[in-house]
Amino acid sequence: MSDAILVSGLRKTFWTTTALDGLDLTVSTGEVHGFLGPNGSGKSTTIRILLGLLRADGGTAQVLGADPWTDVETLHRRLAYVPGDVTMWPNLTGGEVIDFLGRLRGGLDQAKRDALLERFDLDPTKKGRGYSKGNRQKVALVAALASDVDLLLLDEPTAGLDPLMERVFRDCIDEVRADGRTVLLSSHILSEVEALCDRVSIIKDGRTVESGSLTQLRHLTRTSLSAVLDRPATAADLSALHGLHDVVIEGDRLTGSVDTERIGPVLDALGAHGIRALTCQAPTLEELFLRSYQS
């Protein structure tokens, strides 16, 4: 499978602020790729470089096999973009904006457009300033989804959508995936990422910290463990044991976290102390992200 987006060692500095510091990102054709990171970590900067709006100071970026800075016109016929903060021309209606953005991309499917307006329950006759944040977001989404493009770049597209519309959005992305098209989805909504994304990349301070499928990422983290023991263990008993971390012993209760691949040996060792009660918990997505964000 070829790669729709191939970024390596991307650097971008604004005056003295380093926005991207050697960022790597690979998005395979046909996948929905989650793009995650704390605020200010460089997600929007990356997307704007992929759009040719910003010029990278270093590193390479390829989008659909083309150079995003030089091959703007041909490349942009094949992609659509939804900004995180959609602003609308105050005196243009939503319908006019959808048509205009679609035509700039080389035309849009009228039947699809009307169906999407229906699904997103959007009134296209209101003027720009009459729309709420969520409705402005819908205008940009309809314009992007109604065009027949190979790649969708979505920068926090659902911030401001209500749960009902969030559901419609997920259905639409599933359809895009079924068509074999590619999506780069930047988002803070973890349930959305978990439901939609085949793979995710987590970035921090302009660098990629984790990348892979959610299952793979889960493996990189630890399982939390809490056990009540017959014969209390001492820190010295456990110091030789690999893979057990953050140990706290309170009377007969031991809590800690275990490297996921070391669960077996650790349980064996604890068995020697007589396990009376035991709870193990796989890491939640939230823990996964918090750990990556804070690392």
Partner: protein, 530 residues
């Protein structure tokens, strides 16, 4: 909590945001007023040295339509301020308007007032803070100007009257803008309302001052008050009270409107529109035309009215000047020999070409406001190129300004011919067209500034126009060196129909404009957007 809670905090915030802009505006206007008075004072230190002729020039209907009546034809002090009175009143009114709009409708449109409104801030506080800041800026400008004139040795009472006249005009527009900010639902329509009011006021007093039977029109125009103060003559300092009255009425009215509307909305509500885009809206230039069309039509209406006024006055203006001495002087001021009517029309068309350049700069700077609003990003994410995006508003500015000039020339010609004048439609069209290259240089400069220095593009573009205007208008009076005066593109426009058409300056101006546009493209294609 009262409706005014937080006014002082908001005033401090406004001052923090404007601590460069406002002092700069004050110093620019007061400085221009004081420095422009020096040269005439040196030339004509006493009433005797003036002779009768000079003040009579400024009493001719053509000059009066532009500058307003002279306060006292026999006073050198009055002569020293005659050119600055009306122009300064317009600048100061625009200044007051800009400050009010900036902190009311523009803030509300940007959503920042919403953030403030959720804090411990009274409903009327933002508007009150904006009005206080604008009023303070206007009053300080007037005070500094009066002190500057007194410092030059000009009569004190007259200097106070001069400042009172300015204050009357500008304070009135502070009040009018406060109302406009409540009526309009966008920053742009607020500009249209308040700017239209300033334009209408200028037109009213222009007619009132030049037609004796309609002189009452000058008294209902706030801009008329700045000349009705008759500085260094009758010294009607009390006109300031008229301005204060309009300000108070405007503030009371705008508070009443404010209490009746929702945050973010105007009283002139937005309408619904089409669900589909017209075929013309499919390219960056189509978008630029769609966005710029209402503004262009407004300017076009202004140019038609201006053409009617200038053309209508042409014959009567020149018929009245019987004195051969004055006629000779006017010819010299016009820069050449020719029929007096031609001299008058050449001067007017040249002056109005500066206004056409202002239109073009407004359009060109829309490139910047579109980028700041995040719209350029959305357009460039489509399958278009940087050159097409840069060209979009530029083309509207260039073609629009040319159309404005041609319409102006045509209207003047037709009206003049109908009134029995002899200028001729064809000659005036040619004259108007000959001024277009200089206008284009100003627009191209604004585009170039946007491409290379986006953050300060507006300052560079307007600053350049102000310098060109000042150098062109006052360069001779101030005794500036020739090369400095030559920097102003307007001085190179063929002074048709007084002088024949001359190709080299036109080609030179077009070449400069083309070079600036090429430089703009070179800068725009390699810089970051947003």
């Amino acid at each position: 909590m009262s409706a005014y809670t937080g006014t002082t905090e908001l005033l401090r915030l406004a001052w923090r945001r404007d601590r460069v802009l406002v002092p700069l505006g004050i110093l620019a206007i007061a400085g221009m007023a004081v420095s422009s008075a020096k040269a005439p004072l040196a030339l004509y230190p006493t009433a005797e040295s003036m002779g009768g002729a000079i003040s009579e020039i400024f009493a001719s209907p053509a000059a009066v339509a532009l500058y307003g009546p002279i306060g006292n034809p026999t006073s050198p002090d009055s002569l020293a301020v005659v050119k600055m009175t009306m122009m300064g009143a317009v600048f100061l009114s625009l200044f007051g308007y800009a400050v009010v709009r900036r902190h009311t409708r523009s803030e509300e449109e940007a959503g920042r007032l919403e953030l403030l409104g959720s804090g411990v801030v009274g409903r009327r506080a933002p508007l009150a803070a904006a009005v206080v800041l604008a009023t303070g800026a206007v009053l300080i400008t007037c005070l500094l100007t009066a002190l500057g004139y007194i410092g030059l040795g000009m009569q004190s009472a007259g200097s106070v009257a001069f400042a009172s006249g300015w204050a009357a005009s500008a304070l009135a527009f502070v009040g009018i803008t406060a109302v406009a900010a409540q009526l309009s639902s966008t920053s742009r329509s607020c500009a249209g309302l308040a700017g239209g009011a300033i334009g209408a006021a200028f037109l009213l007093r222009s007619i009132g001052d030049s037609q004796a039977t309609l002189s009452w029109l000058s008294w209902i125009s706030p801009l008329g008050w700045s000349t009705q103060s008759a500085a260094y003559g009758a010294n009607r300092s009390w006109v300031a009270l008229l301005g204060v009255a309009v300000l108070v009425a405007g503030v009371i009215g705008s508070f009443a409107l404010l209490d009746r509307r929702d945050l973010g909305a105007g009283l002139l509500a937005g309408r619904r529109g089409s669900a589909h885009a017209p075929a013309s809206l499919s390219s960056p230039v189509g978008l630029a035309w769609r966005l710029g069309r209402p503004g262009f039509l407004g300017w076009l209406a202004g140019f038609v009215v201006g053409g009617l006024v200038v053309g209508g006055l042409a014959k009567s203006a020149t018929d009245l000047i019987k004195d051969p001495g004055i006629a000779d002087m006017l010819r010299k001021m016009g820069g050449g020999e020719g029929l007096l009517e031609d001299v008058y029309l050449t001067t007017e068309i040249g002056f109005i070409s500066v206004i056409a350049a202002a239109f073009g700069i407004v359009v060109a700077l829309r490139l910047r406001s579109e980028e700041v609003a995040g719209h350029t990003e959305q357009v460039l994410a489509g399958a278009t190129t940087r050159s097409r995006v840069l060209a979009s508003h530029t083309v509207i500015g260039l073609l629009g300004s040319a159309v404005l000039m041609l319409v102006l020339g045509g209207v003047i010609g037709v009206v003049d011919a109908a009134a029995g004048g002899s200028a001729g439609v064809g000659r005036l069209l040619a004259s108007a067209a000959a001024h277009v290259p200089a206008v284009w240089v100003c627009i191209a400069l604004a585009v170039c500034a946007y491409a290379w220095l986006p953050r300060i593009a507006a300052g560079v573009a307007w600053g350049a126009l102000a310098v060109f205007l000042t150098v062109g208008e006052f360069g001779g009076l101030l005794g500036l060196p020739g090369w400095l005066i030559d920097l102003a593109p307007f001085t190179h426009s063929p002074r048709m129909p007084v002088e024949p058409f001359s190709l080299p300056p036109v080609v030179g101006l077009l070449a400069v404009a083309a070079a600036l546009l090429a430089a703009a493209y070179a800068g725009f294609r390699r810089r970051d957007i947003g």
